[in-house]
């Protein structure tokens, strides 16, 4: 851990006060760090959006049902013993786990990893655009909702605004985080500084210049935001991004998701007040040659599982504060298509990982794949509205009870995934 309390006080505190920053959140942070209960040790929700619609039936196939095998002659996998080491992992006799998701299996066995199957949106759209939109705003069927549900989570938490309260490791702010509450989108935390390529001396002067300008401007929004900004820059300066070494031998994949989760772990450990983090995993739109134990799906799944594994390992004792949840806009057709892939479907599944999760269980109701049970005769139906999962997570992990404001117009009940 790069930034521990001792180091912070030694390196951070003095320099900070001499820089003449006001009595601000960083100072309080420094003070808080001397207290037994750290001020900024907050619950954090880390979300991973799997863009493109993950095939929930390949990630977590039902094992006691041979319809899947018949409808997917090229894609179905076997949990049979003879199938070699890449066979589907048996979760509970009823469901399996794709072998590339194997790194997550220990968490399932420990009871930390829960799965919700046949989840999704009540809206039948099969458009990525619309479905992602609905999932991120939390208002299926309604496009004009101006805020994202994660932004509303942040508002309902109502904690003091700190620069890194809500963070997306994406080039642009995702719809989930649009709204009244401040949120940052950045792909590389090293960008988060006053910078001129290769001219650090000049940069430093400029930084000082801006600080004094914004400190004294009469426009209060600019002034207050700038105070936060320079604090955030200062914090990151202390974290020393390049020297960060993941703890407990965690090894992040060198993928976008791996890099994102690595930076999220860094911030969680730095105690900067991170509460909502958003990362993306792309490439789940497997229309063609989806593959089985190898191939497109397996590569994506492997990246997802290894990234989460590294993150969870790296967190160490911070796991107590963190919940990881995946989401994806819809599932894919039960039947494989002519190109060795699957097309846009309806229900899919998601993963929830946390110390207090009622794990080792497939939650929700999996209706089976009989012809008559399928949605529009072709897809896994949605039996669990994603809002009941999100509301359950917001309530159980973050303590938000007001699901009426979190999901306007929704009349369902939160799903409890917690023991």
């Amino acid at each position: 851990m790069t930034l521990d309390r001792r180091l912070f006080l030694k390196a951070g505190g003095a320099a900070l006060f001499s820089a003449g920053l006001g009595p601000s959140f960083l100072q309080r942070a420094a003070l808080a760090m001397t207290e037994p209960e750290p001020f900024f040790r907050r619950k954090a929700l880390v979300t991973i959006f799997q863009r493109g619609a993950m095939d929930g039936l390949m990630a977590v196939p039902s094992l006691d049902d041979d319809r899947l095998r018949r409808l997917r002659p090229r894609l179905a996998q076997s949990a049979a013993k003879g199938a070699g080491e890449a066979a589907v992992l048996d979760l509970d006799g009823r469901f399996g786990l794709h072998p590339s998701l194997g790194p997550l299996l220990p968490y399932w066995q420990e009871g930390r990893l829960g799965i919700v199957h046949a989840m999704g949106s009540p809206d039948p759209t099969r458009s990525h655009f619309d479905a992602q939109d609905y999932m991120e705003t939390g208002t299926p069927g309604r496009k004009s909702t101006s805020s994202g549900w994660l932004n509303r989570v942040s508002g309902l938490l109502g904690h003091e605004a700190t620069p890194f309260r809500s963070l997306a490791l994406t080039p642009a702010l995702p719809r989930s985080l649009y709204g009244d509450e401040p949120a940052i989108a950045v792909t590389n935390l090293a960008d988060f500084q006053v910078q001129l390529p290769g001219a650090s001396g000049a940069t430093a002067v400029a930084g000082q210049g801006f600080e004094s300008l914004y400190e004294q401007t009469s426009q209060s929004l600019l002034r207050d935001t700038a105070t936060e900004t320079f604090e955030a820059v200062e914090i990151l300066g202390r974290v020393n991004l390049n020297a960060y070494r993941p703890a407990h031998g965690a090894r992040y994949p060198k993928s976008q998701l791996g890099r994102s989760l690595r930076q999220i772990a860094m911030l969680i450990k730095a105690g900067v007040g991170l509460e909502i983090a958003f990362a993306e995993s792309r490439g789940w739109d497997t229309h063609v040659n989806q593959g089985t134990v190898t191939g497109t799906f397996a590569n994506r799944a492997s990246d997802l599982a290894k990234s989460i594994q590294a993150f969870w390992t790296d967190l160490g004792s911070h796991r107590d504060d963190v919940l990881v949840m995946t989401m994806t806009e819809f599932g894919r057709t039960v039947r494989e298509n002519g190109s060795g892939g699957t097309d846009h479907g309806h229900g899919s599944c998601l993963f929830v990982l946390g110390q207090e999760v009622d794990g080792g269980k497939v939650h929700g109701h999996f209706p089976g794949l009989a012809e008559g049970d399928l949605f529009e005769g072709r897809d896994l139906p949605v039996t669990t509205d994603f809002r009941s999962i999100f509301a359950g997570v917001a309530s159980n992990h973050l303590g938000i009870r007001n699901d009426k404001n979190l999901f306007p117009g929704w009349k369902g009940k939160p799903l409890s995934l917690f023991s």
Binding site: R126, A172, A190, V205, S212, A226, N240, L241, N242, G340
Partner: protein
């Protein structure tokens, strides 16, 4: 010479000779008028210069060097009239836009020319040029696909490309690049600035997002054909043009909204079964979309879609508290059922032929107008009640048009739009009395946008000290105003557009139909503010690819005597008629202390000095600079060689000014 960026010379001497020539003749008329014309800015206690600077802040994207004087030489009232008329000849802009050939193509030509890669491949497949499945299979690593060699794949792609080129096909992405480029170039260079400001405003009001794959191919035509011609015309015309445009019909799903099952139709296909099929296109509407979205099967159109109806009232006209009910949403959706798009293709060709051959009286209510298609066979012909007004049964396209009439003249609409205009042009929280007055003019003038705008300009609120400098520039406004203030030459707009995005504004791509919120709170947040400061520094330091300027020329080729002198000089050049005393005082110590740089640099973590600490963007910017410009014009060759040069002190001062709180305001 110390402060001149050596290879960033560009003559900024091009001025507004034309302007002054054109208007010299008319200068006298107003001063000869018997009584002094009403002058709200004088009443507000502004000097002529202050008034001109304020106008340039609000009716344009910011003052160019010396522009305050140019406004005065034309005369303020005259300048405003010219901006309202929007007819100032602009050959300089035309020259800059010349290479953007998509701007001259009709909506239909655009749709035929610019395709998404998937559609391109489907076309090629249909023509037997390549085999789609095989080619797609090749791009994946699945072990069950036919093993085809890499050279074969390359050959196929070459064949595809050659074919696409021979057919004149290009990618949607290229069109969107041209769309962004024209927006930036017009913002920086257009003489008729108000036209650009209002096009920006009304586009945002009737927002269509390029993040939606269905509508993105039509957005260029949407802005040009549906928005731009009507920005100072009748609101009803503007509303009607957006309602019929394919971008809107596809974006808000009205294109797939058809009468619910069992409802009477304007033209009932089943009743006339066996006679003739009517207009063929309708049957396969949206089939390419269905392939994309739902796999093999043809999309089943499944009844009413309320999206457009709801947003039409909530966003475009009445406003969220405009007094409509869910019942009205459904009724309005029924009124617009059958309003759809007939995209280019064989289906369209057949339908178009049939339509043209059929005499007007015999078209059974079908209407084909460019890409807009009214499907009488999908229109709910039952009686409707919208906001208490009855729409009789057995009609067709008139239902939708009547709804637009109703909404355009509703007082809630007048208020909603007046408030939005006041927010944009006066303050984030404009005085209620001003909104009332504008709404009154809107109602009395039957939604004449020019009259509403004129009354806004006449209002004391527009000129009040509470309003001046109170708006925070959007990232686009900030970027364009900085380029204008520097008199910059934008050889390639992409580097600047990248910064607009980085500061939090993905142009044309706001993810919701609301458009970008017009408030300081939306634009000013921790991440974005830092980007704004960095933008100022990097622009002034010459690090924004594709942009050149000459700081010395800005100051009449004079080198400031001292750094403090530079500070005052450039502040008054870049922020004309602003009170700069505070900024000078605050910055003076920083820029003048020779020890400061050393002191602060010593306190900086080492990581900031290493190349590894360079942001992703800067790494990309370097690559980008290399790829987008040829050697002789590439001002960033130093980057390529890896030798960095600290910006000159004057560039540094200018960077601080552009990144300062004062420059964020307008």
């Amino acid at each position: 010479m110390s402060f001149m960026s050596c290879n960033r010379l560009y003559p900024v001497g091009v001025t507004f000779v034309l302007l002054s020539v054109v208007f010299t003749s008319s200068l006298g008329s107003s001063s000869l008028a018997p009584k002094r014309p009403e002058s709200p800015w004088r009443d507000a206690g502004l000097t002529e210069r202050q008034a001109a600077a304020h106008l340039l802040d609000r009716l344009s994207f910011g003052a160019t060097p010396g522009e305050v004087d140019e406004v005065l030489s034309v005369g303020i009232e005259r300048w405003v009239e010219d901006q309202l008329r929007g007819q100032i000849p602009d050959p300089r802009l035309a020259r800059r836009l010349r290479s953007l050939d998509a701007l001259d193509l009709s909506a239909i030509e655009l749709a035929k020319t610019f395709l998404d890669p998937g559609d391109l491949l489907r076309q090629a497949d249909a023509q037997g040029i390549v085999d789609r499945e095989t080619l797609l299979g090749l791009t994946e690593s699945g072990e069950k696909g036919e093993p085809v060699s890499a050279p074969e794949r390359r050959r196929t792609i070459r064949r595809l490309k050659a074919w696409a080129e021979s057919q004149g096909y290009r990618t949607t992405k290229e069109m969107l690049q041209q769309l962004g480029a024209q927006k930036l170039l017009r913002g920086v260079y257009a003489e008729n600035q108000l036209q650009e400001v209002l096009t920006d405003f009304w586009y945002n009001h009737f927002h269509v997002s390029t993040s939606n794959p269905r509508s993105r191919g039509f957005v260029l035509s949407y802005e040009r054909d549906a928005i731009r011609p009507h920005i100072l015309g009748s609101f009803r015309d503007l509303l009607g043009a957006t309602a019929r445009h394919p971008a809107m019909l596809l974006y808000l799903d009205n294109a797939k909204s058809i009468a619910a099952e069992g409802m009477p139709k304007t033209f009932d296909r089943t009743e006339r079964a066996g006679r003739r099929r009517g207009f063929a296109g309708s049957r396969r509407q949206g089939s390419s979309e269905s392939r994309r979205n739902g796999g093999r099967r043809r999309a089943r159109l499944s009844g009413l879609n309320e999206n457009y109806a709801r947003e039409l009232m909530e966003l475009h006209t009445l406003g969220v508290d405009g007094g409509y009910l869910q019942k009205d949403v459904v009724e309005v959706a029924r009124a617009f059922s059958g309003w759809t798009v007939l995209s280019p293709g064989r289906t369209r060709d057949r339908a178009e032929g049939l339509y043209r051959r059929t005499s007007a009286g015999n078209r059974r209510g079908f209407v084909l107008d460019e890409l807009f298609f009214f499907r009488a066979d999908a229109h709910d012909a039952g009686e409707k009640v919208v906001l208490g007004r009855k729409l009789p049964a057995n009609r067709g396209i008139e239902d939708g048009e009547d709804v637009l009439d109703l909404l355009a003249t509703n007082p809630a609409t007048a208020r909603h739009l007046s408030r939005k205009l006041a927010v944009r042009f006066v303050a984030d929280d404009p005085p209620g009395a001003l909104v009332d007055r504008l709404a009154e003019v809107f109602i009395q003038s039957d939604g004449d946008l020019e009259r509403v705008f004129r009354s806004l300009l006449k209002s004391p609120d527009f000129w009040s000290s509470e309003a001046r400098r109170q708006k925070i520039k959007s990232p686009f406004e900030l970027t364009v105003s900085a380029l204008r203030a520097l008199g910059a030459e934008v050889a390639d707009p992409r580097g600047s557009l990248e910064w607009v995005m980085r500061m939090g504004q993905h142009l044309y791509a706001y993810p919701a139909p609301t458009g970008f919120p017009d408030s300081a709170e939306h634009w000013v947040n921790t991440g974005a503010l830092l980007s704004r400061m960095n933008f100022g520094l990097q622009l002034a330091g010459g690090y924004v690819p594709g942009v050149w300027f000459d700081l010395e020329s800005l100051n009449g080729k004079k080198e400031p005597e001292s750094i403090s002198d530079a500070l005052e000089t450039y502040l008054s050049l870049l922020l004309p008629e602003r009170d700069i005393t505070n900024t000078v005082r605050q910055l003076e110590a920083t820029v003048a202390d020779p020890d400061l740089a050393r002191k602060v640099a010593a306190a900086m973590p080492d990581s900031r000095q290493s190349d590894a600490a360079l942001g992703e963007f800067d790494r990309q910017a370097r690559l980008f600079a290399g790829s987008s410009m040829n050697e002789s014009t590439n001002p960033f060759s130093e980057f390529e060689q890896g030798s960095f040069r600290a910006p000159s002190p004057v560039a540094q001062v200018v960077g601080l000014i552009l990144g300062s709180p004062e420059f964020q305001r307008r």
